[in-house]
């Protein structure tokens, strides 16, 4: 909601400011009507079905589910019909009507998304920015005190260092393994089976993943039989068993392995789709020229899917910035493995200091600015 009113910059070929606002008002009107229509549909269907169906929990749940989805469909269909009724694309003013409708329709399409984003994400961000200037309970204005505290806080510096490590290692490793996996599995007959197996960790919740990896990193004292496979391997080769997740600094990497393990499947699926989308002709031409499979892969295929690699990298980077569950479950930031998202959680629910928690949240958001700028550039390039 907040966004739409700030979008006033006229761009090439767009109508003037006045027309823009007129469109906006009409769009809002239609949106409201669409929502009302959707709700009326939902309620009508609900009361009709409710009288017929028996009072069983499962049936009711399914019903509510259908309603939610139906309301969504109802909105898009209804609002579009309404727009076409206001500006019918026929009759003596066809051209004008189509133009006017085209000015409004994007906002009908975007409307629900913008409203939801506004409520669920923009509002909390604004709230955080305000809170970052207030004391623990959000009542006393403290100016920049939270920021000053952050600059001097040792735990924050540690989290920053770790987060930067995560940012470098995890997206790179996950994308790399994903690309390798995609390239290799596309060449073999049982590739889809292999893909499914590599993708499987994606399906595992962080709670589940923590259990799995605790089992791998499990440590028993030297001399007794190891039930963690990592220590079993180490002792098999004559090494000393280690309590892996308590080794300062290195434990960061043991935690990162978990996320890489999970995210490689994501990278692989997307990259594999991109690889298959490369036109046959370019590759055939290279084969005829006598290029080796490695040359084809690095010189022809990879450059062609560079855009997709970037998308995958960005997505994983953003996920890394928010990584929290793994650290919370495995170490809770102890043994020098703190990361920003968990540190924020810590200040919010253990320190009960919303001011400081908000400040850390803003740092997390600030860290993504470079990625954002790059994406805006890409988007601009696309649109030209």
């Amino acid at each position: 909601m907040a966004i739409s009113s700030t979008e006033t910059g006229p761009s090439d070929g767009s109508p003037g400011l006045g027309a823009f606002f007129r469109n906006l008002v009409i769009a809002l009107g239609i949106m409201a009507a669409g929502i009302v229509f959707a709700v009326l549909c939902a309620v009508a269907v609900f009361s009709a079905l409710n009288t017929v169906l028996p009072d069983i929990k499962l049936v009711q749940a399914v019903l509510v589910m259908v309603l939610g989805v139906a309301a969504c469909f109802g909105y898009f269909w209804g609002s579009n019909r309404l727009l076409d009724m206001i500006y019918p694309p026929r009759g003596h003013r066809v051209a004008e009507n189509i133009n006017a409708a085209n000015g409004i329709r994007p906002w009908l399409f975007l409307g629900p998304a913008v409203i939801i984003l506004g409520i669920y994400l923009v509002y909390p961000v604004v709230n955080s920015i305000v809170l970052s200037f207030y004391g623990p309970s959000g009542e006393h204005w403290v100016g920049g005190a939270n920021y000053a505290w952050l600059a001097k806080d040792a735990a924050f510096r540690e989290s920053m260092r770790n987060n930067l490590l995560w940012l470098v290692v995890v997206p790179a490793a996950a994308t790399f393994f994903g690309l390798i996996a995609a390239a290799l599995t596309d060449r073999i007959s049982w590739g889809n089976v292999a893909k499914s197996l590599i993708f499987m960790p994606m399906a595992i919740s962080f709670v589940g993943a923590s259990v799995i990896w605790k089992f791998i990193y499990d440590y028993r004292a030297e001399g007794s039989e190891q039930i963690g496979i990592l220590n079993a391997v180490v002792t098999f080769f004559g090494g000393e068993p280690q309590a892996w997740i308590t080794l300062p600094f290195w434990n960061n990497f043991f935690l990162m392995v978990i996320l890489i393990w999970i995210q490689t499947g994501f990278a692989m699926v997307i990259l594999s789709a991109a690889l298959r989308g490369i036109p046959e002709e370019t590759i055939e031409a290279a084969v005829i020229d006598g290029a080796s499979p490695f040359q084809i892969f690095y010189k022809i295929k990879v450059p062609q899917i560079w855009g997709t690699i970037a998308v995958v990298w960005t997505t994983i980077t953003i996920l890394v910035l928010k990584v929290f569950d793994i650290v919370l479950a495995m170490t809770n930031g102890q043994w020098g493995s703190q990361v920003l998202a968990n540190y924020m959680f810590d200040w919010m629910f253990r320190g009960l200091d919303f001011g400081r928690a908000s400040t850390i949240a803003l740092v997390i958001m600030a860290m993504v600015t470079p990625i954002m700028i790059w994406n805006i550039r890409e988007a601009r390039k696309d649109m030209k």
Partner: protein, 451 residues
């Protein structure tokens, strides 16, 4: 957002309540161990038919069933419906719920420090002076329990906010009597004897202690109990109080000495199963299992009264496994100090039913009914000690009432960021090899940061 409101209402309507008359564990009027008169008096006074009471706490599975067996009597007496829900992440969730305005009527805090934090933000309702007076008169060492529930409100004045109900004894050492017999060890009566016993076990080529600090996101907490116990055994209780309130700094030499007392056990590779390196990474729920291993991985395990839940299935308390009081130094003359903990009940959303529930907690019957089951100790003086279901509980009850000094778990009283954060982390660092001075200074620094 009309859509959401209406569909929301529909969704709410679907989530209808399923009130069902819970079965009572004991039939009112039967069994002379119980003070049924207090139940009948309570029943006569209140009637809340059709009303609801929402209670939110940390208890799950077995504990939840136990607590619900108690609330069933409240339901039976008043006609109200009690909805208890428990969560493993109680600490975070109660913050979210109270801040966001969807608080339950009553919250059960395992950490008084958290209740104090919420009270200072005006999120708890004072219980009134009458209740505080009642507690002073009816609980053993009443004033200390009143102090436990008294915090500063958002107006800055002290008030009684939280009602302690259900106590735990922490200064216990668990052992296997038959293993002691086999090896010819005696239960130590003083700290000096305990240390001598540890030495003797090492000399016999065995390992005396199992210590595990692992607890997922709460890793480190068992060590804070050790330090508090050591604090009470090396310093007078006044110093302990000052430490908990940060009136003496965390890096005071007396605190450092207590940390090092703990280190004498936990940082000694000969003393702990797996060596000092295993202490931090062994799960506290796994560590008592070393007692039961064949051959035993260790002979003693210091942990609170709840730990038998993690003993192997079928372990018979008092025979297969038993406990003794973690003794004090004979030479220091500090009496028999005892470390304990308790859950406190606070009203987070006022209602008549919630008030009545607090009244219910004052009745002897509310205590006796749980005593007769398991895992419950009470300082209530008006209850019948015969109601304790077994000797182990009765013995713990005796330890609780015979202690010359009783202090609450200090980490639960400290601000959450310290008692459930920096202190834990500090102890992990300490067993990891950092010096006690450095660790204590770090914790003090963190404490300064939140002042």
């Amino acid at each position: 957002m009309k859509t959401s409101m209406i569909v929301g209402a529909l969704a709410l309507a679907l989530a209808g309540t399923t009130a069902h008359a819970a079965d009572l564990k004991f039939t009112p009027g039967e069994d002379a161990r119980f003070n049924w008169k207090s139940y009948e008096d309570f029943q006569a006074e209140y009637d809340f038919s059709g009303q609801e009471l929402n209670i939110f706490g940390p208890w799950l599975s077995a504990d939840k069933d136990l607590f619900e067996s108690i609330t069933a009597f409240f339901e039976e007496a008043t006609g109200a419906t009690v909805n208890y829900s428990g969560s493993d992440s109680f600490e975070q969730q109660i913050v979210i719920d109270t801040q966001a305005g969807s608080a339950p009527n009553i919250a059960i805090f395992p950490q008084p420090g958290l209740a104090a934090d919420l009270a200072s933000k005006g999120l708890l309702v004072p219980l009134g002076n009458d209740t505080a007076e009642w507690m002073k008169d009816n609980y053993a060492a009443g004033q200390s329990w009143v102090d436990l529930g008294t915090y500063k409100g958002n107006d800055g004045t002290d008030a009684f906010f939280a009602f302690p109900y259900k106590a735990d004894v922490k200064s216990l050492v668990w052992y296997i009597p038959e293993n002691f017999e086999d090896a010819g060890y005696e239960v130590p009566q003083t700290m000096e004897e305990l240390k001598a016993l540890s030495e003797q076990i090492v000399a016999d080529g065995e390992t005396p202690w199992c210590i595990g600090l692992g607890s997922g996101g709460a890793t480190g907490w068992p060590a804070t109990d050790w330090v508090e116990d050591m604090m009470l055994r090396t310093q007078p209780p006044e110093v302990y109080d000052q430490w908990v309130r940060n009136e003496i700094p965390f890096n005071d030499e007396r605190v450092i000495a207590a940390i090092e007392e703990f280190g004498a056990f936990a940082r000694n590779d000969d003393y702990v199963d797996g060596g000092a390196g295993a202490v931090a990474s062994t799960d506290f729920r796994d560590s008592p299992k070393g007692l039961f291993a064949v051959p035993p991985k260790c002979y003693m395990h210091r942990q609170a009264s709840f730990i038998p839940s993690f003993f192997p299935e079928g372990t018979e308390l008092g025979r297969d496994a038993d406990f003794f009081y973690l003794p004090a130094y004979a030479e220091k003359d500090l009496g028999t100090p005892l470390l304990g903990a308790g859950t406190v009940f606070a009203i987070t959303k006022d209602s008549e039913v919630a008030r009545a529930f607090i009244e219910f907690l004052k009745t002897p019957i509310a205590h006796e009914l749980w005593m007769a089951q398991s895992g419950f100790l009470t300082p209530h003086k008006g209850v019948n000690a015969d109601a304790y279901s077994n000797d182990a509980l009765r013995k713990q009850g005796e330890i609780l009432t015979s202690a010359t000094t009783f202090r609450f778990d200090g980490s639960d009283l400290m601000p959450g960021k310290i008692g459930a954060g920096a202190f834990w982390t500090g102890m992990i660092d300490y067993v990891g090899g950092k010096s006690a001075e450095d660790v204590a200074s770090d914790i003090q620094k963190e404490w300064d940061a939140i002042k």
